[in-house]
Amino acid sequence: MDNNSQYLQMFFDESAEYLQQLNENVLLLEENPQDEEIINSVFRAAHSVKGMSATMGFTRLTDLTHKMENILSKVRNKEMQINEKLIDVLFAGLDYIKDLVDDIKNNGEELTDINNYLIRLENVLLNKDNDDDIQENTNSKDKFADVSDEEEIIEDFEKILGLSKEEESDLLDSMNVEDLLYNIKVVLDDNCLLKNVRGYMVLKKAQELGFLVKSSPSQSEIEDEDFDLSIYIIIVSTLDKETIISEFQDIIDVKEVKIHTRDVKNKVDIATESVNKANDFTSSDDISNNDHVTPTNDISNNNDLRSDDDNFEENISKVNSEIKESAKTDKEQIIESDINKKTEKKKAKKLSNVQVSPTVRVDIKKLDNLMNMVGELLINKTRLAGLNVDNDVYQDIILQLDRVTTDLHHIVMQIRMVPIGGIFNRFPRMVRDLSKELNKDIDLLIEGADTELDRSIIDELADPLMHIIRNAIDHGIEIPELREKNGKAKKGNILLNAYQKGSEIVIEVEDDGAGLDKEKIIEKAISRGIISYDDANEMDEKDIYNLVFHPGFSTSEKVTDISGRGVGMDVVKRVVESLDGQIFIESEKGIGTRFIISLPLTLAITQALMVKINNEVYAIPLNTISESHLISPKEILQVRGQDVMVLRDSTIPLVECARKLNLDIEYGTYKEKEEVPVVIINSGEKQIGLIVDELLNQQEIVIKSLGNYLLNIKNISGATIVGDGEVALILDVRNIA
C-alpha cells in the first residue's frame, strides 16, 4: 500500500486521538478495574489503531497493538486481572505507540525497537495463561489428522467422515425419493483470511442447499479455526450436482469443489468402523501446519474473543455423542451449541456508549483563511457604513449586511473554538507518572473541561499549563509523611479549572501544598541580583510572587529533572502574555498556591475604542478598558511629580499616550485644553488613565500582525484597517500600563 500523504495525515490525526483516548481510559481503568465499558473502549481504540497501522503497512505498530489487544481481550473475558503491573505495561505500550508514530512522522519509518516490549507483553500473557496454553497445545495436537489432497473423494470420506450404521439407516428412512445424498469436498484458497469465517459460510451454504448431515471439521471446529483448508460435507438435497457446485464456488476464497453423488445403499458397511475412526482422528499426532497463514493470523488464534468453550475433553465427548446420535439430532446439536455460544458472547458484547459527536476535520490553516476573509468583509462593511449615503434602501442594505457579517463572524469564531479539555486530558497521565516517580500521592481534579477557547490559543497553552502543574507536583505538594505531620490529608490535590468570565477565559491551577515562601523568594531574588534589599522592602505580596516569573529564578533548593532549572516560569509568563493574557499567583504558606491565567476568548477579531493621537487613529482593545472620561485640567492633580486623577476615591496615574509612543511632538499640552479625554485601562489590579487627543467611536477591528520585521515595536501590538481603508495601530495598553 502506498503511504500517500492523504492517508498519512489522517493516520497521524486519528492515531493521536486514539492515543489520547487510550491514555485517558487506561487511567480510568486503573481506578475502576471492573468497569466493562472502559475495558471495551480501550479495546476498541487499540483495535482501531491496529487496523490503521496494518493498512498503512506499519508492522511494528501492528504487532504491538495486536499483542496489547490480546491482553485486553483476556481482561475483557475475565481471564486476566487488572493490577498495577498490567496498567504499567499498558501505559508503556502507549508510549511505544507514540514513539513509533513519531518515528513515522519524523523519519518516515518505524525505528523504535519494540522487541523487548513485545517479550514483556508475551510474558504478561503467559503468566496468567500457562494452563490455557498447555491445554491449547494438546488440543491442537490431538485433533484430527491432516487431510490429504487425494483426488479420490470417496476414500477421503470413508476415512474422514464415515457414518455409523444407525446414522445410515436413519438417514435412508428420512430421505424422500427425489433426495440425493452428496459427499462434497470444499477446498479453501491458501491465501484465505479468517478461514474459520469462510468455513462457516461454506457450512451455512450447505444448510441452505439441503439438509446438512455431517461435516468434518464440525461447526465448532471450524469456528475455532481448528482445521486445514478442506471441508468435507455430507448433505441431502434435491438440487442437482451442477447447481450445488456453482453455489459453493460463488463463495469467495473457495478454490475447488469436488462432489460425489453417493450410492447410500451400497455403502452401509463402511459405518461399522466409524467409532474407531472417530477415535483415530481425535488422537492422531499428525497435525498439519498451514504455511500460508500469515504470522498475524497465527497470533489471532489466541485472540479469539470468546473464552475457549470446548477444551479437549469436551471435544471428545462431542465427537462421540455426535456419532451416537442420529443425523437429525446432530443438526439440532449444532443449533443448540450456537445458542450456547451466543449467550456466552452476549457477556462480551456489552459495548459502551461513549458519546462521539460527528465531526469534520478541517486544516486549521483553512480556518485561519476563512477568518481572514471574514475580517476583510468586516472591514469593507465598516467602510460602506462610513459612506453616509442618505438613502433608505442603502441604509437598509447596510443594516442587513451588518447583521449577516456579525453572524458570520460569530459562526467562524464558534468553529474555531475547541474545548480546553483537549489539553486538560493530557495531564492526568502526567500527574500519575510524576507523583509515582516522586513517591507522592496526588489527585488531579479537572473542572470546566468543556470551556471553549480559540484553537490557536489552546495550542499555545499546553506547555505553560504543563509546566505549572509540574511545578505544583514537584514543589507544591509535600510528600505524604510531611503532609500527615502538618495535619493534612496524605493525598495532595491539584485542581485544574477553566471557566468563562465576561469576554475572558480564566484557567486556574490550584494545589493544596506548601504554598510559596515569601522570605525564600526574596532571599533568592536578592542573591541572584534580581532585586536589591531596598526593593525588597517596598514589595507587596504580588510583586514578590511575580519574581517567580523572572528569568533564571528557581525557589527549589535542589534542582530536579522534573521542573527543571528555573527556566520555564518566565517562559510561561511570556507565552501567556503573547496570547494577550495575564497570569497571577495567589498563595498562602501551608495552605496552597493558585496560578490564575486569564485569556481573551479569541485573538483575531475584537471590539475596540478608536482614539485620535496627534491626528492619527489608534485602536484600544475594549476588553482592557474599564471606562472613559472627559475631565477638565483642573481635575488633574500631582503626586510626587506624577499627574494623577481621582476617580471614585481612587487615585489613578495619568499617562500621556503620545509620550509612550515616542511621538515627535511637544508633551503636556493637554493641560491647556478645555477638556481632556482619558481612557481608564485595567491591567491586572493596576489602573491607569491614558490621555489621548480625541475619543472617536467603538468598532470591531480585525487584528493583523505587524509582521516579523516590526514585531518588537514597543507599545504597539498590531494593526488594523479602519473604515476609510487607512491603517490604524493597535495600542498594547497592558504594556503601557
Binding site: M1, Q6, Y7, M10, F11, E14, S41, F43, R44, H47, S48, K50, G51, M52, A54, T55, M56, G57, H66, E69, N70, S73, L193, L194, N196, V197, Y200, M201, K204, E223, E225, D250, I252, T296, N297, I299, S300, N303, D304, L305, R306, D338, K341, K342, K345, K349, L351, S352, N353, V354, V356, P358, R361
Partner: protein, 121 residues
C-alpha cells in the same frame, strides 16, 4: 447506474480507505456513518445497494446494526469489514445475514471481488 454504497466505520481513516477503493471500483458512496445506530438511520434514508459495516464501533456495534438493517430490509446487502481476531463476531454477523466479509487491511482487488460477486448473482 453505479451501485450506491453506505460506508460504516468508526475510524475516518478506514472509511477513507474503503471509499477510495470503492470509488475506484466504480461505486458511488452515498453516505458515511461512524456507529451502528446512525447506520440504521442512514440506511432508512438512503436505501443503499450495499453497506460496508465495521464490527467494533461505539454506540452500537456492527452486528447489532446488521440485524436491525435486515429487519428493515431482508434483502439488504451488507459486507462486514473485519480485522484479524474478530472471527467469532464475523460469524455472528454472517449468521445474522451479512452477505460476506472483507478483512482489514483492505486489499482493493479482494474487496471489489467480494462486492462484485454479490451483484453478479
Amino acid at each position: 447506474m453505479n451501485k450506491r454504497v453506505l460506508v460504516v466505520d468508526d475510524a475516518a481513516f478506514m472509511r477513507m480507505m474503503i471509499k477510495n477503493i470503492l470509488i475506484d471500483g466504480g461505486f458511488e458512496i452515498v453516505g458515511e456513518e461512524e456507529n451502528g445506530r446512525d447506520a440504521i438511520e442512514a440506511y432508512k434514508d438512503l436505501q443503499p445497494d450495499l453497506v460496508t459495516m465495521d464490527i467494533t464501533m461505539p454506540e452500537m456495534d456492527g452486528i447489532e446494526a446488521v440485524k436491525a438493517i435486515l429487519d428493515l430490509d431482508a434483502n439488504a446487502n451488507i459486507i462486514m469489514c473485519s480485522a484479524m481476531g474478530q472471527q467469532a463476531m464475523v460469524i455472528d454477523a454472517i449468521q445474522a445475514g451479512a452477505k460476506d466479509f472483507v478483512v482489514k487491511p483492505f486489499k482493493p482487488d479482494r474487496v471489489l471481488a467480494s462486492i462484485n460477486k454479490l451483484f453478479d448473482e
